[in-house]
């Protein structure tokens, strides 16, 4: 009886392990043959246990006269289940305008809940939905942190080109990812100074709603060597992903003269065993977006690989 029970328990354990291992869900942004690296300027589509720390950005603002801006950011993402995660992000900013003392402080805290709706291995596709909240007033107004919070429902997607026909095999290492969110302030109206009469009573005006959107185009040399053609390049080279990111913010309601701002970021990502390094140039798309080309650098940590049995696994 006991032996039979042991055998049954052993069978159940083996079945549970096999079922666990058979699940297509995995940390990182993996869908079939495709690994989507964590991107620097836009959020990648996957739910994962990861830490982006630090992300360092240096640029000149679109103000007149332009200020130099240094941002040091961090984001911690944690899986609650295999497909549901939360993240916490904040930035420290230092602004220096010509002829003035530098000011520094933290931006508003941002939290995001993200659910990975779809993972399709055959078509190398991931789709997620999320809800981000910027906690107004949690940062320093000296560096532009708004007193008003925003809530942003967001759609994330990623699609690899691995299902292209054989005649286009050279293009299979390409992938696109994207994000589009609608940022809604937590109040419909706010009081603003009249630029023509600073001494007058502040004007009551509608708060600006924006679409936050971004796209990336990436070419994975790892995909090329492992799935299309191995040219015998060194491992370091095969771990590179040349990438172009585009991140923008477009006012869609109560613009008050604001225009779309954003940057185009050509760069490269190196994906190692436990970390990822990314370096990009930030090219402003117009004068409002910045005066010169900036630089963006990120160290990204795969917590699911570093700590697979503790903080790197889902809570449930």
């Amino acid at each position: 009886m006991r032996a039979r029970m042991h055998a049954a328990l052993g069978g159940l354990s083996a079945a549970a392990l096999a079922a666990l291992l058979a699940s297509p869900a995995a940390a990182h942004g993996v869908a079939g043959n495709r690994f989507f690296p964590a991107t620097l300027a836009t959020d990648d589509p996957a739910v994962a246990d990861e830490l982006s720390l630090p992300t360092i950005s240096y640029s000149r603002t679109g103000d007149d006269p332009a200020a130099t801006e240094l941002d040091v950011s961090g984001e911690y993402s944690k899986r609650l289940t295999r497909t549901l995660g939360v993240s916490f992000a904040d930035s420290w900013t230092r602004l220096k305008s010509p002829g003035e003392h530098a000011v520094s402080g933290f931006q508003n805290l941002e939290t995001t809940v993200k659910y990975q709706v779809l993972t399709n291995a055959e078509h190398e596709a991931i789709v997620s939905v999320g809800l981000s909240a910027e906690w107004g007033g949690s940062g320093s107004s000296k560096v532009g942190a708004e007193a008003l919070g925003t809530v942003t429902p967001t759609l994330y997607f990623g699609k690899g080109a691995g299902d292209l026909p054989e005649s286009l095999a050279w293009a299979r290492p390409f992938a696109v990812t994207g994000v589009v969110g609608y940022a809604v302030p937590t109040r419909a109206h706010e009081l603003a100074d009249d630029p023509d009469c600073p001494a007058c009573t502040p004007l009551r005006q509608g708060t600006t709603r924006t679409v936050e959107w971004g796209l990336t185009l990436q070419y994975s040399l790892r995909y090329l060597s492992a799935h299309v053609k191995d040219y015998g390049l060194p491992s370091f080279v095969n771990q590179l992903t040349p990438i172009v990111e585009f991140a923008a913010s477009s006012p869609v309601r109560n613009a008050h003269g604001q225009r779309t701002t954003g940057t185009v970021n050509p760069g490269v990502i190196w994906s190692g065993r436990h970390t990822q390094l990314g370096l990009e140039a930030q090219v402003p798309i117009n004068r409002d977006s910045g005066r010169t080309v900036g630089v963006l650098f990120q160290v990204h940590w795969f917590l699911d690989d570093l700590f697979p049995r503790s903080i790197g696994k889902p809570v449930w």
Binding site: L20, S23, A26, R273, H274, D305, L306, P308
Partner: protein, 120 residues
Amino acid sequence: MRSVIAALALLSAAGLAGAAAAHAFLEHASPRVGSRVASAPAEVRLSFSEPVEPAFCTIAVSGPLGFAGVEPARAATGDRRTLVAPFRRPMPPGRYLVRWRAVSVDSHVTQGDFQFELKP
């Protein structure tokens, strides 16, 4: 700032100590990915970036009409990062598709496929 630096040092130490495993990505294959080979290879050999659990890994190969497939995958002698699956004979000329699924020792699952061609 000190706590941030301490956290980064801890993460670096964890990675450098090698205590952590990672996803097993394909680093090299024989026959080489996308290659054209002149003679029938004895086996398909896949080398991964991480040690794998052979019991949960699979290699399947499809080929031209008359191809008999491969033996079950096993670990290469003394190398837990490499899987080997001997080809069954015959191996007619033509295009072959290798599909693999690997489970690293920390249970992360990866999969992939690639082609090679056996010249007439």
